[in-house]
């Protein structure tokens, strides 16, 4: 029985191998790699949706370079070991570009394979700063790296709030502590302000009044917290109760309605950095409506970043007039494209120019954008 199966699958495989190349001539293959199953699927599925919507749109207008676009969608479950398999599989199917991967870890594992075969990769969501270094020159992304948020906070704290003494608290987690460390380094490098307190707290602890006393004693001009909203709201509340009036700034982890709801009146005046508000862009609305029309729901995480990534790749191929690696990546780096995130192109490292963070403040129970760097 086993033998028959083996023979059968071998036969099938041969058929596939023979048939596939005959199609290859008249399609342009684009890989879409990311997490599509499991817990993290909500972070990967919207990218598939975006790629499908954009590809359909281009195909309706005749495709690229006179050929139809064909998407090869592969699931790597955010696992580095699966990601390398997926990358190899995409490379062997002769894709000319990849939208993905979603998680930084998986992206890191897959990049060397794309690098070897010179295939441009545009991630909508992998934010680890080192990726542009590891993946150069094949890697691009339409999301700002983790350290960009720290840089922006430093600019805001030092130049806009004119703080001289900064207290930095974090939740000891990868995200919170990572961001807090970036901010600390940027502040120390700027030389314009001093970090007077740098401490981790235990997330989920009963209360943080002792650490707030410590903040009070350090007499900072600004308090920054790296972490998520439950701890942030407790700290903001305790600070106001103890009559600490200096500004409190936190990160994308608190920039949500939940923070405002839980902290209530104590949320008022709190700053938070988060991705730039792009909902005013005309293309943003177009992309939103296309998603609603095709899938009947609001788009999920990184949808607009993926939409922009797909657009950027297609436009670059169009501009280059070929799928040649050098020409496509040159076009990615020089040619501006109108996307839901605004008008973007990529810099030398592969970061999208014009994509980044802004600072928001809670005013009358809503986050309002108060500072966005012009670049």
């Amino acid at each position: 029985m086993k033998k028959i199966f083996g023979l059968l699958s071998a036969a099938l495989f041969t058929v596939l191998a023979v048939v596939a190349p005959s199609f290859a001539a008249d399609v342009i293959k684009i890989g879409v790699a990311g997490v599509h199953t499991g817990d993290l699927a909500p972070f990967g599925i919207p990218t598939v949706h975006a790629a499908k919507i954009v590809a359909e749109k281009y195909n309706k207008e005749g495709g690229l370079l006179g050929k139809k676009i064909e998407l090869i969608v592969l699931d790597e479950q955010c696992k580095p070991e699966v990601a390398t398999n997926v990358a190899t599989s995409l490379v062997t199917s002769k894709v000319v570009g990849v939208i993905g991967h979603i998680c930084s870890g998986a992206t890191k594992a897959a990049l060397p394979i794309y690098k070897q075969d010179k295939i441009p990769v545009i991630s909508p969501s992998a934010t680890n700063p080192s990726l542009t270094k590891i993946g150069y020159p094949v890697f691009f992304r339409t999301i700002a790296p983790d350290n960009a948020q720290g840089k922006l906070q430093e600019e805001f704290i030092v130049n806009k709030l004119h703080a001289k003494r900064v207290a930095i608290i974090h939740d000891k987690g990868d995200y919170g502590k990572g961001l807090a460390t970036y901010l600390k380094n940027y502040i120390e490098k700027s030389g314009k302000a001093k970090v007077v307190l740098f401490e981790g707290i235990t997330p989920g602890a009963m209360d943080y009044s002792a650490v707030v006393q410590k903040i009070k004693r350090a007499r900072p001009d600004v308090v920054m917290f790296g972490g998520y909203h439950p701890e942030a709201s407790k700290i903001a509340m305790t600070m106001k109760r103890k009559r600490l009036k200096m500004p409190f700034i936190s990160d994308d982890g608190i920039k949500n309605d939940k923070f405002i709801q839980v902290a209530g009146k104590y949320a008022e005046g709190v700053y938070a950095s988060g991705p730039k508000d792009v909902s005013g862009n005309p293309l943003y609305k177009v992309a939103l409506n296309e998603h609603k029309k095709k899938y009947g729901t609001e788009p999920g995480a990184f949808y607009y970043n993926a939409y922009a990534a797909t657009q950027a790749l297609f436009e670059a191929i169009k501009k280059a007039g070929t799928t040649d690696f050098a020409k496509v990546t040159h076009a990615l780096r020089t040619n501006y494209v109108e996307t839901p995130l605004g008008k973007i192109k990529f810099d030398k490292k592969g970061e999208a120019e014009g994509v980044g963070f802004a600072v928001y403040q809670v005013k009358n129970g809503k986050f309002v954008q108060v500072y966005a760097p012009s670049k």
Binding site: I201, S209, A210, S233
Partner: protein, 302 residues
Amino acid sequence: MDWSYFLDLFMSGLTKGSIYALIALGYTMVYGIIQLINFAHGEIYMIGAFVALITATILTSMGLNLFAVFILAILVAVIYSSAYGFTVEKIAYKPLRHASRLSPLISAIGMSIFLQNYVMLSQTADFVPFPEIIPVPKFLEKVSDYVDPVGVVIIVVTVVVMIALSLFVKKTKIGKAMRATAQNKTMAMLCGVDVDNTISVTFVIGSALAAIGGVLIGAYVGQINFYIGFIAGLKAFTAAVLGGIGSIPGAALGGVVLGLTESFGTGYVSSDYEDVFAFVILVLILIFRPAGILGKSNTEKV
């Protein structure tokens, strides 16, 4: 020495310690009587906080004044939590009274997980804001630059509750029955003490204290979720062991020692190691006094 900083840390440590102590009493009383670590106790505290939140929201919308809301919220939370404590004992522990000591322990852990998930599903998995319902007397507002008035109210409530509890255990007939059951269950039974009833009363009192703790901490930190019971329970259990499990004054002392250690550790060293200080103290005390600060060591006859 910066005395006002010291005082601030002392106050926040004492406030936190008071809450730990209130919950620790429930652990210690139950352990004293049936030698069971009631892991579901933290969840009773969490349920108390949720019931108080719902009650306070309804009462506030009816326009009652703060003091009435506070008292009624505590009252409803106490009644509700006591009912839960009573039921948990009847369902999860009583059938296992004569089983080996591990069985009720596992049953307790199961109950804890069940109650957590029950609240998560029936209420919400998110944090919910808790209204500030602790009434602050006028004279305390004047000194609020030096001490946190809400903290003072919490400490006072805790002290009053503890004195009441000590009197109850020492002076009443049920208290006497509780002490008798703790010393020797069989002998107490022979002398006509209704042991089952006494154990139920112990669970009810422990749960009531936990509920008070839940209301106080909810109003103090301003937010609760289904998971707060687990964390508070772990700390309170540590406090109970620290003070000597089975001893009522020990639980109170253990809670305060733990709260102060955390607060001073954070204030003078680093908050990165808040939990480390708590457990280092526990280890140190258990090395020198294996039965806890006020615990009586029982030498087992072989």
